[in-house]
Amino acid sequence: MMQAYLSGVGESPLGSVPSMNALELQRAAALAALDDAGLTLKDVDGLLTTPIRVAQWAMPVGMVAQGLGIRPGYLATLDVAGASGTAMVHHAAMAVATGQAETVLCVAGQNQLSNVSRDATVAQLANVGWASPEYEAPYGPLIPTLYALVAQRHMHEYGTTAEQMAEVAVAIRGHASLNPNAYKKEPISVADVVGSRMITSPLHLLDCAIVTDGAAAFVVTKAKKNRSVKILGQGYGFTHAYIGEHDHIATTGAVQSGRDAFKMAGVTPADIDVAELYDCFTITVIAELEDLGFCKKGEGGAFVEGGRIRLGGELPVTTHGGLLSAVHPGLAGGMFHVVEAVRQLRGEAGARQVPDCELALAHGNGGIIGIHCTLILGRG
């Protein structure tokens, strides 16, 4: 789309990291990404981050710049919820394309697990505003309940089954088992998923994302480097703020974001070698596969069967282990999908490498399926 490249990626330690606070996690990820690009903090003239929830940062990007000791000439705090990870790439590329910066560091993450207990995280998330404080929260929905409504409706309209949703969790756990940095690596079966505790029907515990610590970073540059990845297309899609305001909840804004991203990149879903899809819940992945055009609407459940989204299948999905098994520290969760797409395109994904990976799609979903950003990346 524009002359900008993804030239470095990095992660902090992931999972349970009680020894590091949010800024320390972000510093670790930032330095890893800069080192990966052959750059240092001195080279950074642009900075993007997201808000965090574990501390009261009135000015997140200022906190990060101060923590890293840098004075970038372009800086912003970006928040399109779970779509922030993919959207950061686009915003950084725009800064480069318009001459605002030559080296934009994107970094975010926090100690979502270690800062407080998991119960406290569940309670905090229930009151952060994903459910309308006045018209939804008083009825007692969990965040997973709001996605369960989507799943129940999808099952009703298209006959999607609990076992098909479970296959998403199984495939992604299998990928996590090949990622040394993933938090949950022990393989699981469909029976394990449907046999796990029912949280909010039809979603079982293993249909839901994990809660972890962690930070991710990537560097977007004007200069093309040896291992740079091309940014080929992007698109956004928005349908609603609260789930009760969406009249067709089995369909997401990924219809629009995918259509625009594919058009800009000049490719089709059949051309994509690996799809790093936002996987906050198993149903999210099924809806995204349909809405991005990898299969017809309503056929996402059947699409995931038979190992099609596993490594070695027709379309490996979320090959790092995703939010379901690898890492989910909050708004930064979708950045890891970008990091993984870059690693796949460079051939640096180790045991989980997709052979001959030339085109990757990374997709972020935010709110309750309300806001989407799709990114298409190509080998440099």
């Binding site: 009151n127 018209y135 007692g140 409706r153 909010t200 039809p202 305001e245």
Partner: protein
């Protein structure tokens, strides 16, 4: 700006220009962009558009209610709203089930209309 929602009857925001209902409250009518909005009594009838039985309370205040059914109700007037289906066994709730607002004041919840 709309005043606080009255809770002694079932109401939805309605545009006085086009006469259509909407939900949730917005700064202008989503149908005609009119700004003369008021709470207006609605039928209280609808059907279950989707639902989930919650087995794990988000906060301690909901623990005593578990398991409970959170649902999106499609009202007869058109707008969807999140609510609860009460006075019915969770396993009996179905998408498409006809429901009506439970009489009385307070946060609106729905019961089976059959």
């Amino acid at each position: 700006m709309l005043p606080p929602r009255p809770l002694d009857k079932f109401v939805l925001p309605r545009c006085e220009s086009c006469g259509k209902f909407h939900f949730y409250p917005k700064p202008m009518c989503p149908h005609c962009q009119g700004t003369k909005l008021a709470w207006a009594e609605a039928s209280g009838k609808g059907e279950v558009y989707s639902f989930s039985t919650v087995h794990r309370a988000p906060t301690p205040e909901f623990k005593a209610d578990v398991p409970y059914v959170v649902a999106i109700v499609k009202t007869a007037e058109g707008p969807h709203l999140l609510s609860r289906i009460v006075d019915v066994a969770p396993e009996a709730v179905r998408i498409g089930m006809r429901v009506k607002v439970r009489p009385g004041s307070g946060l609106p919840v729905f019961v089976s209309a059959d």
